[in-house]
Symmetry: C2
Subunit: 195 residues, 2 copies
């Protein structure tokens, strides 16, 4: 390792994380190449091992950053769940990298305690908000708060997993964005309304 | 290559496809190892290259078989879409390999003309069935037939992509199966009913 100042170290780490984010999003963990990340970050492989241990450790660092960014990016409004679903849909359509990275992590069976803790906290907070809206008579309570939350997420990100998602490209979905978004809001409205 | 009879060839191909299916489902394309597939199939790498060209060609063969199995496995009943959604949910919970393989293919950007053609045919057939039910006044027509189909698929497979899916394991979801399934049916009922 060359001698570096603290400022150099922080800048190198930042460049490595950025390059790793792009590499892992595009190729997953098995498909990512440490030497490609090092080259893109204008660094070397020894620095990756020094700062992050190994390729898995670098992935964990990227996943934790992504999770921090995503949790709370779309605040819930339990009294207007159709609008929340629409915002969630827009967020993921505009930030497809997040879902890609999370999906790689799921398929490759990789997560971290910190990531799971952040998800659990976010999930509970949102389910509790829906539960309160149910108690206040503002949301249908024949379905549990957590299942309503699951359904909102399912509808908001379904374009990534459904047959249509496999047949159309993201650009086409973006052109259909307004129709798709208002359809999702309409469906959520039907699911949560009390009458 | 050793001399083989046609029967040997067919059996070897079948064993290779089975071993490849397990390897690709578990590890994706980049993570799969041709020598592991050959060993599991009691064959050798040369036979893989002979029959399938390369690793990508072997993946394509597996994906096409999977798609053939899946298309039509859950027949649509456009006059009872809540029950269709429930069957789709059960099918995917019982056959998680299919979604895993399709998800690897999507992330790794790999598909085949035959796979896309099968998907397109299946999608159109199902959307047309929903459209007819709308024309007959049996399904809400404020949403398009294709968006209703997308939503049914989203709700049926949402447990793979939502926060809950990332926090719970498949065994726990299976224990909650009845509650989850009836919730999905209830949501679809609310989405498609005409009054």
């Amino acid at each position: 390792m060359p001698q570096t100042t603290p400022r150099d170290s922080a800048a190198t780490r930042r460049r490595l994380l950025q390059a790793a984010r792009e590499e892992f999003t595009a190729r997953g963990i098995a498909g990512a190449r440490v030497d490609r990340i090092a080259a893109a970050a204008n660094a070397n492989k020894a620095q990756i091992y020094h700062y992050f241990g190994d390729k898995d450790g670098l992935f964990d660092a990227v996943l934790e950053r992504f999770t921090e960014d995503a949790v709370g990016a779309v605040p819930i409004d339990a009294e207007d769940l159709p609008a929340y679903a629409a915002r969630l849909f827009d967020y993921h359509l505009d930030h497809p990298d997040l879902l890609r990275l999370v999906t790689w992590a799921r398929l490759e069976g990789r997560t971290t305690p910190s990531t799971q803790a952040q998800r659990t906290t976010s999930y509970r907070r949102r389910a509790d908000a829906i539960k309160k809206a149910q108690q206040d008579g503002k949301v249908n309570d024949t379905l549990s708060a957590s299942q309503i939350l699951d359904m909102i997420e399912s509808l908001a990100v379904g374009w990534t997993t459904t047959a249509r998602g496999l047949l159309l490209d993201t650009q086409t979905l973006k052109r259909e964005r307004n129709t798709y978004r208002s359809g999702i809001a309409e469906a959520v409205q039907r699911i949560v309304r009390t009458r």
